[in-house]
């Protein structure tokens, strides 16, 4: 019951991890089914229609329901601790963000059971996704499920921006923030400015499908390229939203396990901001073959290649951080170090794709599929694994088993390269993407088989990770405040798991890598910035759950044209908003006497 009403960022982080992890398994299952279908030519494991649903849901689930929530898990678990705060700026909204994401995800997946999941690709291009060519409910689930989940993401973005701007501990200027915090700061800004564009696109598509509007209906003057523009204006920043937090994790992990200060902090900050900004200027590189013309293609081509520069700065800084450092290859560090060459591989194929004329050959082939899996899986997922192994003790109070962690890493890593390296060549040989089968005798057979085997290895690696979680929960080693013994940042100054109130006394920050600075000066702990006193905490609330349920119900109502139900669902949501506004939440206090005992029970 506590978990349904919590507004505690630490618990919400765990909820995000559980839900995101669950959807990761769902998306992974969809991937395995895809690969089984493709292991041999003219396979009939699934029908073409089902295949389209699988590939759509795989992409949509992995990006929106697995990757982003797991990033939100790390954000929630770590950011307030890294800046010396006791919670995020808007704890109630934090909970609301989780529940809307959750119900959006549930809505999307209910479609499997009600006659058809979305099947127009995760990019849902029109006219395929328009009522003329997708008359069943699949795309409606996509449009409405993502709008609901998107609200949650937007709320989370604003929450972390305000938290980082307003709630840093005394002495923590912007240029003393940990790199992960900087990464989340820029990511949150990207979320704030990218998601409204997606919302408008989804609303327009929804109006076309449900109310016969004409945004994308060419007969009545609509424009199908408009959808592509709107979608990718969101879609490109979205992939930077996915990768920047991973960059943040890598900075923390490499620096900690090299026992060395991050090389080139200022340039890292600059590079992160530049990547974020440029991310909004390159969207049409997804549309090189859409007919925008040579001028547009040239501009976007150059802008895209430019992004490689700040990214390269980051790569070199990580390498220089490791150079001369005293490196410890824990599982977390294995994932981080594995990330570097893998992401570079994905990045360079990205530069290849950025050359517009060449892209006319690569577009819609497996070369593109290989590229984005290298950067998303080889980048983001390795980063998430790294972050999870690194911060697990702080979140749950126990160390993940190192042997199982290494097993996870090697199985997943080898499986990953096996699956996707070969797909570059499939693409170059001409295999198009999103096809449910291929003919015999074209030369695709062996490579697809290898790719499928690799996918199973990745699945095995994931299973090892789950085993690790279970083994740790049952008999894991308890963690101290600073279990890696080389912690540099504030989260390692407090017990593991973090107590309910985070910091008994808000710390005084005297430099970058605040904790390391104190250690180098011979101190065991941080200097407090305030006396011990009663700590004010926000009260839990059931309203976010009900608001999300209201939206969920409304979604169904609109989709099936039962407007009474739609109105009722919205009514529930608005009623909860009203209650929230009218009832003052004064929170509660934790008295100094209780401060020794309270801890988060995960």
């Amino acid at each position: 019951m506590d978990w349904l009403t919590t507004v505690d960022h630490k618990k919400i982080g765990i909820l995000y991890l559980l839900a995101g992890g669950f959807f990761f398994l769902v998306g992974g299952m969809e991937a395995i089914l895809i690969r089984i279908q493709l292991w041999k030519p003219l396979n009939d494991f699934v029908s073409a229609d089902t295949y389209n649903e699988l590939l759509t849901m795989h992409g949509t689930t992995m990006i929106f329901l697995a990757a982003m929530p797991m990033l939100f898990a790390l954000m929630n678990a770590v950011i307030p601790l890294q800046i010396g705060a006791r919670d995020v700026a808007f704890p109630f909204l934090n909970s609301l963000g989780f529940w809307t994401f959750f119900f959006g995800g549930v809505l999307l997946n209910v479609s499997w059971f009600t006659g058809g999941a979305p099947d127009a690709g995760w990019t849902s291009y029109v006219p395929l996704a328009s009522p003329a060519y997708s008359a069943d409910y699949g795309v409606d689930y996509y449009v409405i499920g993502l709008q609901i989940a998107g609200i949650g993401t937007l709320i989370g973005g604003i929450n972390f921006l305000v938290t980082i701007i307003n709630m840093r501990a005394p002495g923590m200027t912007f240029m003393r923030m940990p790199m992960f915090t900087w990464a989340i700061f820029v990511t949150s800004a990207l979320i704030l400015f990218a998601f409204p564009a997606l919302t408008v696109g989804l609303v327009a598509l929804m109006f076309d499908r449900l109310f016969q509007a004409n945004f994308f209906n060419v007969t009545n003057g609509g424009n199908t390229v408009l959808w592509e523009h709107i979608f990718w204006i969101f879609g490109h920043p979205e992939v930077y939203i996915l990768i920047l937090p991973a960059f943040g994790v890598i900075s923390e992990v490499i620096s900690t396990f090299s026992r060395k200060r991050l090389f080139g902090y200022s340039s890292m900050v600059f590079a992160t901001v530049l990547i974020g900004f440029l991310g909004f200027m390159v969207w049409a590189h997804h549309m090189f073959t859409a007919g925008l013309g040579p001028v547009a293609n040239a501009l976007f081509s150059i802008a895209t290649m430019l992004i490689a520069v700040p990214t390269g700065i980051k790569i070199f800084n990580w390498l220089f951080t490791m150079w001369g450092g005293s490196i410890k290859f824990t599982s977390a560090n294995l994932f981080a170090v594995g990330f570097v060459p893998t992401f570079v591989m994905g990045g360079v194929t990205g530069v290849m794709l950025a050359a517009a004329p060449a892209d006319f050959q690569y577009h819609d082939s497996y070369f593109v599929v290989a590229h984005f899996h290298y950067v998303i899986v080889g980048g983001l997922i390795l980063g998430i694994f790294s972050g999870l192994h690194y911060w697990w003790p702080k979140m749950f109070g126990k160390m993940l088993n190192e042997f199982l962690g290494k097993l996870t890493f090697w199985t997943f890593f080898i499986g990953f390269h096996m699956t996707f390296l070969i797909q570059h060549f499939l693409g170059l040989m001409g295999m198009p993407r999103r096809i449910y089968t291929y003919l015999d005798g074209i030369g695709f057979n062996e490579m697809n088989l290898i790719s499928t085997i690799g996918a199973f290895l990745m699945g095995l690696g994931t299973i090892f990770f789950i085993v690790n979680i279970i083994v740790t929960a049952v008999s894991g080693k308890k963690a101290s405040n600073d279990p890696w013994e080389d912690g540099r940042t504030l989260e390692w100054t407090i017990p593991s798991p973090a107590p309910e109130y985070n910091f008994k006394q808000t710390p005084l920050v005297r430099g970058y890598d605040a904790f390391w600075k104190e250690k180098m000066d011979g101190n065991k702990e941080m200097t407090p910035a305030e006396p011990i006193g009663p700590i004010h905490m926000p009260s839990p609330s059931i309203l976010p759950l009900f608001m999300s349920i209201g939206l969920f119900i409304a979604g169904f109502g609109f989709m099936y044209h039962k407007y009474i139900i739609g109105a009722a669902g919205l009514g529930i949501t608005f009623l909860c908003m009203l209650i929230r506004s009218l009832k003052d939440d004064h929170g509660f206090h934790i008295e100094p006497e209780e401060l020794q005992d309270k801890g988060v029970k995960a």
């Binding site: 701007i165 307003n166 709630m167 840093r168 501990a169 005394p170 002495g171 800004a189 704030l192 400015f193 564009a197 060419v218 424009n223 199908t224 390229v225 408009l226 523009h229 204006i233 909004f280 200027m281 049409a284 007919g291 925008l292 013309g293 547009a296």
Partner: protein, 105 residues
């Protein structure tokens, strides 16, 4: 109390309450700009591109007036709001260029 807000000092220093005068001036200015915009469309044989130019100028100035005075963006302590709105505006500007020049089949 975080080290990052300065309202305590602000509260002590500026105790005079701003009168309504500045805001009424902003209001009259906005009306005036609106009037020019409408007039340029209704009256006279002006070149279409020039009208559009006037309209955009009037809108732009009015936005500055309204956001500067009524939303206090010209006052101190509004760094992040300014960054926030400006970034949004840059994104929008890029999109509008796209829509005007490139969104066709």
């Amino acid at each position: 109390m975080t080290a990052n807000h300065s309202t305590t000092e602000e509260t002590k220093k500026r105790h005079k309450h701003e009168g309504p005068r500045k805001h009424i001036v902003a209001y009259i200015l906005s009306m005036f700009l609106t009037l020019i915009a409408f007039a340029s469309v209704i009256g006279g044989e002006i070149n279409v591109s020039f009208i559009i130019f006037i309209l955009l100028m009037m809108a732009g100035i009015q936005v500055f007036v309204q956001m500067g005075f009524w939303m206090h963006m010209k006052d101190r302590g509004h760094t992040f709001p300014i960054i926030g709105i400006l970034t949004g505006a840059v994104v929008v500007f890029t999109m509008v260029i796209m829509a005007e020049f490139w969104a066709w089949w």
